[in-house]
């Protein structure tokens, strides 16, 4: 377990190094680790699939700037807590000794899915918060809106 968690931490550090090259996937003020967690969760929430781009490939800078301006403290706190707790939840939700960064894409998706369906209300709330904010960011993009709107 310890070895896996150390590996995850190293992965987090290397993610930090790559951060500059990646579109912003978290509000400013979050630690690099939290940003990496957020990126992993949002990428799992809305992966590139069919006609639609993945959330992680969109430029979300403007979204996070506006979010920081207008989101009330309760939502800001809620999103950060949701990302942090979900990122650390794989041992409890999936029974695997990893943070979200130690999971492959399918397991990350399974993590979110099981949290959304969990008997534990708090877990459902955490996953719902991530899903709602992720969808707000995603469906703000005119290209995505046009493609979703076309579907019939």
């Amino acid at each position: 377990m310890l070895r896996e968690l150390i590996t995850d931490s190293l992965r987090e550090v290397s993610t930090r190094v790559h951060r500059a090259a990646i579109a912003a996937t978290a509000p400013s003020g979050w630690t690099a680790t939290e940003r990496a967690w957020s990126e992993a969760l949002f990428a799992a929430l809305l992966p590139a699939e069919g006609r639609l781009p993945g959330l992680a490939t969109l430029d979300l800078d403007a979204f996070w700037v506006r979010y920081a301006e207008v989101a009330p403290p309760m939502l800001r706190f809620g999103l950060r807590a949701s990302v942090d707790l979900l990122a650390l939840s794989p041992p409890f939700v999936l029974g695997v000794p990893h943070t979200v960064l130690g999971l492959d894409a399918a397991a990350r998706e399974a993590l979110l899915d099981q949290a959304l369906r969990s008997r534990v209300f708090l877990l459902r709330q955490l996953a719902t918060t991530v899903k709602l904010v992720g969808l707000m960011a995603y469906l703000r993009d005119p290209g995505v809106r046009a493609r979703v709107g076309e579907g019939s």
Binding site: L46, P47, E49, G50, R51, K131, R145, G151
Partner: protein
């Protein structure tokens, strides 16, 4: 239309008027135009910005960021935890509401009078009826035309008809509505006769002034008399506004009691007796495209179960909120998004029996409100009826959204034996209609304002919004708020 924008004020400012009205939603707009038309000087102070139709955003996030209080994410503490949603913009919540118009039902009026017979003379139904006639004419209120209804509304009509439930096109305050489905993000063409497009311009034509982006922080009172308000601009500059005749609070059933409490006015049950219409929604997938972000946002309603404290409405949303109603994540969520055009979404509003409390937090209102067991049962019944109507209308699958029930239901028989969960957290709900926190009544011990809308302890201080309603109404409140605010204005004018 705006006399002064608080964003331009960086040094302390003093203003004055005969009457100061706090809030520019339906209650404030009606008071302002009624007084202005009588030649009385009115200054409306609004915390939110002025937004033109051309600036109304298409997506939920941008709309919530610019038009809603706290992004529509103000959370009530209780079970289940529910957001209470309010506009914060010139025109108030009318800018982002569904434009549904209802007269105060006579049976609700009878309840009010039974609880306090003095209301029979103070709010005679005959007079309310005459006001409803005027409001309906002023705001172009009329039933939604089939041509602009769109499938989300027409399918609800079909489902209700098959189940034998009374239903009808919704009467809405719109003129020239083209069914763009964007009422909840603010009509981009100004076709909704929200207050910024109707009573506020009328008030301004008659001499009223509107100040936006100024948050009123307290009512100033001296020797038992209201003499003005104090406020603050976004840059922190103090604004003091003197009122020679009256101060009228029209800041909503959540914000008006907070202002009273912050002003040291704890008289009566201020903040207590908060009541609401919590709402739940059900999504369903149809074989044919529904495209519920097109068509009249809310164009059809089912009224056959009003006596059971239930009212159903088609609920057109922006695609963001529809997507949030789907169950999955990852690839399954993306598939649902690609298929989103086939989803319908309808809502049920519950005339809940629960009562809550509004308190003043350091920066925000704190609302505590938990549903009663009976309210949960009523909600579950409402959700079941929504599912049944959807399946009757031809849905391939419906998504009830109650934890513990099947996520996806394809047959009406599967709904028959589902019990109403007793865990409040099994329900996902939100509140958009709020009442009762500065109740009107003849007895100062039980009421915050008297039957003339004037505060029981402070002369010249009035409350005009749905805070004064003795109970919730079971129907959409805007038109009732307008009528009562007109009555309030008459009392202010008579001072």
């Amino acid at each position: 239309m705006i006399s002064l924008d608080g964003r331009d004020v960086r040094v302390p400012l003093e203003l004055s008027s005969d009457v100061v009205v706090v809030g520019s939603g339906p209650a404030g707009a009606m008071v302002a135009r009624t007084l202005a038309r009588r030649g009385i000087g009115v200054l409306v102070v609004e915390e939110g910005p002025f937004v033109t139709p051309a600036e109304m955003p298409a997506d939920s996030f941008s709309a919530m960021a610019s038009l809603y209080r706290d992004m529509g994410a103000s959370l009530m503490l209780g079970a289940p935890p529910m957001p209470f949603v309010q506009g914060r913009v010139v025109g108030g919540t009318s800018v982002v509401n569904g434009a549904i118009s209802w007269r105060l039902p006579e049976d609700v009026h009878r309840e009010w009078v039974a609880a306090d017979p003095a209301l029979s003379d103070a709010l005679p139904y005959r007079e309310l009826d005459a006001l409803f006639d005027e409001i309906e004419a002023d705001l172009g209120i009329h039933p939604t035309e089939a041509e602009i209804a769109g499938p989300n509304n027409l399918l609800l009509a079909k489902g209700a008809e098959i189940l034998g439930l009374e239903h009808r096109p919704i009467s809405r305050n719109v003129r020239g509505c083209r069914g763009l489905g964007r009422c909840l993000q603010g009509c981009p063409e100004g076709n909704k006769t929200s207050m910024d497009r109707s009573y506020l311009p009328d008030a301004v034509r008659h001499g009223a002034r509107i100040v936006c982006n100024v948050e009123v922080t307290r009512v100033v009172h001296e020797q038992g008399r209201a003499v003005g308000v104090e406020g603050v601009t976004p840059s922190g500059a103090r604004v003091r506004i003197r009122a020679s005749r009256a101060v009228v609070l029209a800041a909503s059933a959540v914000q008006s009691p907070v202002l009273l409490i912050r002003s040291g006015l704890q008289q009566g049950p201020v903040g207590r007796g908060f009541s609401a219409h919590p709402g739940a929604a059900v999504a369903g997938r149809f074989r044919e495209p529904v495209r519920l972000w097109e068509g009249a946002t809310q164009g059809h309603e089912v009224i056959g179960l009003r006596k059971e404290r239930l009212k159903f409405e088609a609920l057109g949303y922006d695609m963001t909120l529809v997507a949030a109603r789907t169950k999955g994540v990852g690839a399954s969520l993306v598939r649902d998004l690609e298929d989103l055009a086939h989803f319908a979404n309808w809502g049920v509003a519950v005339r809940a029996r629960a009562e809550g409390v509004v308190r003043a937090g350091p920066k925000r209102a704190i609302v505590t409100y938990s549903l009663e067991r009976e309210d949960l049962r009523t909600t579950a019944r409402g959700v079941k009826v929504l599912c049944e109507m959807m399946l009757a209308a031809g849905a391939e699958a419906v998504f009830p959204g109650i934890y513990g029930w099947p996520e996806r239901v394809t047959e009406r028989t599967a709904l028959a034996d589902l019990p109403a969960p007793s865990d409040p957290n099994a329900y996902t709900m939100a509140v958009t209609h709020m009442f009762g926190t500065c109740r009107m009544g003849s007895r100062p011990a039980d009421a915050v304002v008297g039957t003339d809308f004037q505060h029981h302890a402070i002369e010249g201080l009035y409350v005009a919004d749905s805070s004064v309603f003795p109970t919730n109404t079971g129907v959409n409140p805007q038109t009732s708020i307008l009528a009562l605010a007109a009555m309030c204005a008459r009392h202010v004018a008579a001072r």
